[in-house]
């Protein structure tokens, strides 16, 4: 669906220009921190005047194959593609990265970090993450870890963190997160001018763009939506099947199930994936200190790779329920990548939980190869049809 929004075109242009900008920054002495996983706080990277980029792509079977030669065929395709990116060394952000920061949320990603360090001579900084994110002891451990990690970043940057620089970075990222949250509300509206996939593109543009330029563009996009909502002719209404995407990561480059669902006339209205909305939610840094950042990250929606033993009080599932309501979703497509155990092992359980609430659920277990495209299409089509019929009956 071609966009009618000028700012989206500007954002895409900015993404196209970014590799050359980073080259210029590096030529002028800037250092790039490429980070992978979920819990690396960009606040620290920005406050040290380092250039943050979130690394990782998906959807490229060739890179998966390349990566699996160094890691293994029993790692998830996203992890294999990360390793493939380093092995191939053509991705501009991988090439530009001076330090790879990896948090140990998903341990497969941590393993990928070890492989990258060993075979591709990349400098690595590890941030330990407690499995028990919700316990006081886990919190205490994470605060220590983040202080230690901050020390490594300071050493790499050759400068110390200051309260004012931290306050600036915290404010900047707070603004970005709140803007993205607002954008998600826009895309879910009945007469939305922006589609969920476009919002995902905007979120993922934020992985690489200069964060100060990014927040300006984000605000401009929100203003444009406000203006056009009031004055422009509204685009064709979307179809009536509102789908929510949950499960494994959908990184830049991986659009297989999204395009299948769109081709089938379904409308995606929200997600809780770790490359989408989830990292933007519930981050409340109350003061410009490393400890406060640690506490804020502990308060976020926990990642599925952190096991939680009590179903009734699981915040990830509670958040899923809240978002389904917020985005008025009719059904959930639970996307799992082969060998992504954290999300795959929760598939049946999530289905049970949602079925108890009367919410239709479809798990799509896939890889980046195209060989399962039609099998997925058949299953997705049946699901969309079923939800559509259900909506008609309920209407």
């Amino acid at each position: 669906m071609p966009t009618t929004l000028n700012t989206l075109r500007k954002i895409r242009q900015a993404v196209d220009n970014r590799p050359a900008e980073i080259d210029d920054l590096k030529a002028a002495g800037a250092k790039v921190v490429g980070w992978i996983n979920y819990n690396v706080p960009e606040e620290l990277i920005l406050a040290l005047d380092l250039v943050p980029v979130r690394l990782g792509r998906g959807g490229d079977d060739h890179l998966v194959e390349h990566g699996s030669r160094w890691i293994s065929t029993k790692n998830c395709v996203y992890v294999r593609e990360i390793v493939g990116l380093f092995a191939e060394n053509e991705d501009p952000y991988v090439k530009a990265t001076d330090l790879v920061a990896v948090d140990a949320t998903c341990m497969q990603v941590f393993r990928a970090g070890e492989v990258v360090q060993h075979y591709f001579n990349k400098r690595i900084a590890i941030l330990g993450v407690p499995r028990n994110f919700a316990t006081p002891e886990g919190g205490e451990y994470f605060r220590h870890e983040l202080k230690h990690f901050a020390g490594k970043l300071e050493e790499f940057a050759g400068r110390k963190l200051t309260r004012s620089a931290l306050a600036d970075a915290i404010g900047l990222l707070r603004g970005i997160r709140s803007g993205l949250d607002e954008l998600y509300t826009w895309q879910a509206a009945d007469d939305a001018l922006i589609a969920w996939e476009e919002v995902l593109d905007v979120v993922q543009a934020g992985n690489v763009l200069d964060r100060r330029q990014y927040i300006v563009l984000l605000r401009e996009l929100l203003s444009e939506l406000q203006e056009k909502q009031a004055t422009d002719e509204i685009r064709d209404k979307f179809q009536d099947v509102r789908i929510f995407i949950s499960g494994s990561i959908i990184p830049p480059g991986d659009r297989k199930i999204i395009h299948i669902l769109e081709d089938l006339g379904a409308r995606i209205v929200g997600d809780d994936i770790w490359s989408g909305l989830a990292p933007q939610l519930d981050v409340d840094v109350v003061e410009p200190t490393v400890e406060a950042i640690a506490d804020a990250y502990l308060g976020r929606v926990p990642h599925g790779a952190l096991p939680y033993l009590d179903l009734a009080s699981d915040r990830r599932l509670a958040n899923l329920g809240k978002l389904l309501e917020r985005f008025q979703a009719h059904g959930v497509v639970y996307h799992t990548l082969r060998y992504c155990d954290p999300y795959t092992f929760k598939g049946t359980e999530t289905k049970t939980v949602l079925q108890n609430k009367g919410i239709p659920f479809l798990e799509l277990h896939t890889e980046y190869a195209s060989s399962d495209q039609e099998a997925i299409r058949t299953r997705a089509e049946a699901f969309v049809e079923m939800v559509r019929n259900r909506n008609l009956i309920e209407a």
Binding site: I71, K74, E114, I126, E137, Y141, H144, P307, L309, E349
Partner: protein, 469 residues
């Protein structure tokens, strides 16, 4: 008319020669922590009469069966070790009926806290076997089929991507075995344990759950040890709640002393074997020792006695110049890396090799827990020092030393299908070992954890590797 499968005569089972009975029953029996004592005569009768009838699969002799009994029938402490393993089912059931909580834990991790809290820890491999043995009289093929049935029930409920250890979790959920608590360490040795533990939370049985966090990149970080120590306290409290025991530091120290003793004996036995002019015991008998010394199979007191007997018998064999049955002259020694699985040791020996050691379980036996200060802190610091759980480059350096100590001429990294963490570093460890030592290395994926069929592919690869050496 040819016989149908069901009508085929039963396969001849492995037998201990009656001519050895007299010598065997003159050896020491085994005493347990609760005061029970089993004589050697009782062990002999169990292994020659009762066990073959109740667990015929354990006595199967087909080459594909990697878990078959050691053929070294004159290594009497080896027979006792086999008895200790096969009779675990009865001991565990009896303990459970007496109110002792049986706890599913992670393999290859230290077990003192579980015993100190009045529980019995069982790793997934033991629970998987126990679940099969709840139905007695099964042939190897029938036992395999039962195992697969339990395993697939688990995969249906949780995920097709789960490794074979899901059979242990399914057996618990389905009430096949009376496990009272699932409480593993979440170490890097296993990618499935965390999520399989979590998966119980949605099951109607409502089994209690607890995990012990295992921080990575832990070196030089006192806060990592603090976290593990507090997690151990919570786990001990949870087990104690079930056992009704009031756990003191002395209980911890007592079990730490047991474990340190067992570790010391296991190290001594390994060094005796590695440095003997003739290898005095075969790969099966040697390979069972790290597991025994690590998890105690239900009773630390009995385990230590057994290890003493093994050590003494190994010494006697070395003095007499005896070579273990099945071991060829100057075999090609292999050091094995990776979790849960290893080559079929009988077939390695048939091909002129010898499994001289493996990092799984053995690595933690190379360390002792400091016997001073706070016992939880001492355990935590030891746990965080396990070579297996270090950053991979450091683990590879430890592997090199272990391969040298065992005089290995090749290193095989083997991992089970579905294991994301071990598979992910199999190449790296193999490459580092090869680059730094010149030893040939390889890495092999297998799917036969807990199974004894369709093993030809991995057999072929191990054989080819041995031939190449």
């Amino acid at each position: 008319m040819s016989a149908t499968f069901a009508e085929k005569p039963a396969r001849k089972l492995f037998e201990y020669p009656e001519s050895l009975r007299e010598a065997f029953i003159r050896t020491e029996g085994i005493s347990f922590g609760n005061g029970d004592h089993v004589t050697s005569a009782e062990i002999w009768d169990y292994m020659t009469l009762e066990a073959p009838a109740r667990f015929p699969h354990s006595f199967d002799t087909r080459p594909a069966y990697g878990g078959r009994l050691s053929s070294d029938v004159e290594f009497f402490s080896g027979i006792k070790r086999a008895w200790f393993a096969i009779s675990l089912k009865d001991r565990a059931l009896k303990a459970s009926q007496l109110g002792v909580p049986l706890v599913l834990t992670q393999g290859g991790q230290t077990m003192e806290p579980y015993y100190a809290a009045g529980g019995i820890p069982l790793r997934p491999g033991l629970v998987m076997q126990w679940a099969r043995d709840m139905q007695e009289g099964l042939s190897l093929r029938e036992s395999d089929a039962r195992g697969v049935e339990i395993l697939e029930a688990g995969r249906n409920r949780v995920s097709i991507d789960a490794c074979n250890q899901i059979a242990a979790h399914a057996a618990i959920d389905n009430g096949v075995v009376p496990i009272a608590l699932v409480a593993p360490y979440l170490a890097l040795r296993c990618s499935d344990m965390a999520y399989l533990t979590e998966s119980h939370r949605n099951h109607k049985r409502g089994i209690p759950l607890q995990v012990v966090d295992f921080p990575i990149d832990q070196e030089g970080k006192p806060w990592a040890a603090d976290l593990v120590a507090s997690e151990l306290r919570k786990m001990v409290a949870k087990i104690a709640q079930l056992s009704g025991k009031k756990v003191t530091d002395d209980d911890l120290w007592e079990n730490i002393r047991y474990a340190n003793t067992a570790r010391g004996l296991a190290r001594e036995i390994h060094h005796l074997v590695w440095n003997a002019p003739e290898l005095p015991i075969n790969s099966s008998d040697l390979g069972a020792i790290p597991h025994l010394a690590n998890d105690f199979q239900g009773d630390p007191v009995a385990t230590i006695q057994l290890l003493h007997q093994i050590r003494d018998e190994v010494n006697a064999r070395i003095a007499a110049g005896v070579r273990g049955h099945g071991v060829q002259k100057d075999p090609k020694r292999l050091f094995i890396c990776g979790s849960c699985v290893g080559p079929n040791q009988h077939n390695v020996e048939r091909s002129g090799g010898y499994c001289a050691g493996r990092d799984d379980s053995w690595n933690l036996l190379t360390l002792e827990v400091e016997e001073n200060g706070d016992p939880y802190q001492a355990l935590a610091e030891s746990i965080l020092s396990y070579p297996y759980e270090q950053p991979t480059e450091k683990r590879a350096d430890w592997t090199i030393q272990a391969a040298r100590d065992s005089k290995a001429r090749g290193v095989i990294f083997m991992y089970q299908w579905g294991c994301n963490y071990q598979s992910g570093v199999s190449r790296m460890i193999s490459d580092i070992v090869k680059a730094k030592t010149g030893l040939p290395t390889t890495f092999i994926e297998v799917g036969e954890l807990g199974r004894s069929e369709a093993t030809e592919q991995s057999e072929n690869r191990v054989e080819a590797f041995l031939e190449m050496i």
